[in-house]
Symmetry: C3
Subunit: 163 residues, 3 copies
């Protein structure tokens, strides 16, 4: 039996890992809440200052992220938020190493359609790289591709290395 | 380095928080299982005795909750359960303070359609207030609005205060 | 107040439970990643060597599981993976007892349709029995039925026993 000190040290590491995963799932929730409520600043802050979105377009820099939400002529305001939208993600697999982490899993954006029902606006494969600074996680890079033939394996890569 | 006693006290608080969140996610699972299996009593017990559902209609009191599931002429039996349904929720953000908590996130009810495929019967923004009594969490109030333009910000409010 | 030793023992048990649940949710993620990337071996290994899938068909034995993914004339290659697919599951309720566990909840397979939108290929009620060997969880039996009238109660059974 390990010493009490060693047991407490092991527990501390395990609880830190569980807590970090919870925080990362929360970050993805926050991302959705900010998008659906049109909160441009909060949405931009889910990315690190040097964070990059690599999807149908490439976005980098917090001003550009905020503009993607705020721009009255942009896709978000015109085709998503103004229709009534719901951004969700997960379930995700997560691995944390110190202050860096990755997550992989789906993201789904629902919009209300003209019949007052709902349809997927986008459904995607995603890999997120994340970094913790001053106790807060943020996305440093999100690779996102639509669910389509042959693309899953381009995005879902890290899960193979997670023993 | 904190004393071993202080480390154990800190771990105890962190594990209690993680466990409470897990219990609350389970409560939402139980809510779905009870709805889809037509279990009126179990469904009503996911609400506190003074619990309130504030949605398309307002429901309060466990007898009324049970009736919402049991009533052969009601929407649940007629348009949902009898078609083949699946109630899901999440991902949710959760904050626990002692024996009270809140959760925010989506809920989605699928029903089988006439082509043996499935469509969303309802898709909603939700804020749940919860309370723990005798070790069991229950919903004291659920605010629920359909995904539609401008409603996300009326329901998703607490996430902004979660530092 | 319990002794420090007793507190650490209780924490160890709680953290082991939380960690096991996390591992089981990861196993379900891995199942989806393997399916969508067409990784037959990894997919077959989410089942125990004596694992059984009891769904629209019955599958048992790892060679048969791998064949279900690899077979060019099979449903998976022809109607799912080649269209562009996304396998998801959850939220799930989980109970762990030593090296055995169960999980209950939905599974949803999305496929891209001919209009470059997405539709559910299958939506199901599921009960998974699981076993841990050499630190790894695997499915010993999955009972799966499509979301349809009257079937929820045939599959969602264990949740009632989870106090």
């Amino acid at each position: 039996m390990a010493s009490l000190e060693a047991q407490v040290a092991a527990l501390t590491a395990q609880v830190a890992e569980l807590t970090a995963r919870e925080e990362i799932r929360e970050l993805l929730c926050r991302y959705g809440f900010a998008a659906d409520t049109g909160s441009a600043r909060e949405w931009s802050q889910t990315y690190a200052p040097d964070g990059v979105y690599d999807g149908l377009e490439t976005i980098s820099g917090r001003a550009s992220f905020a503009h993607a939400i705020d721009n009255p002529a942009g896709v978000h305001k015109r085709d998503i938020e103004s229709k009534g939208s719901l951004h969700t993600s997960g379930p995700v697999m997560i691995r944390v190493r110190g202050d860096e982490a990755w997550a992989e899993g789906p993201a789904l954006v629902w919009v209300r359609d003209e019949h007052s029902s709902w349809r997927p606006f986008s459904l995607s494969y995603n890999h997120w790289d994340l970094r913790r600074r001053a106790g807060r996680w943020a996305v440093t890079r999100r690779l996102s591709r639509p669910v389509a033939p042959g693309l899953a394996g381009e995005v879902f890569t890290a899960w193979r290395t997670a023993g």
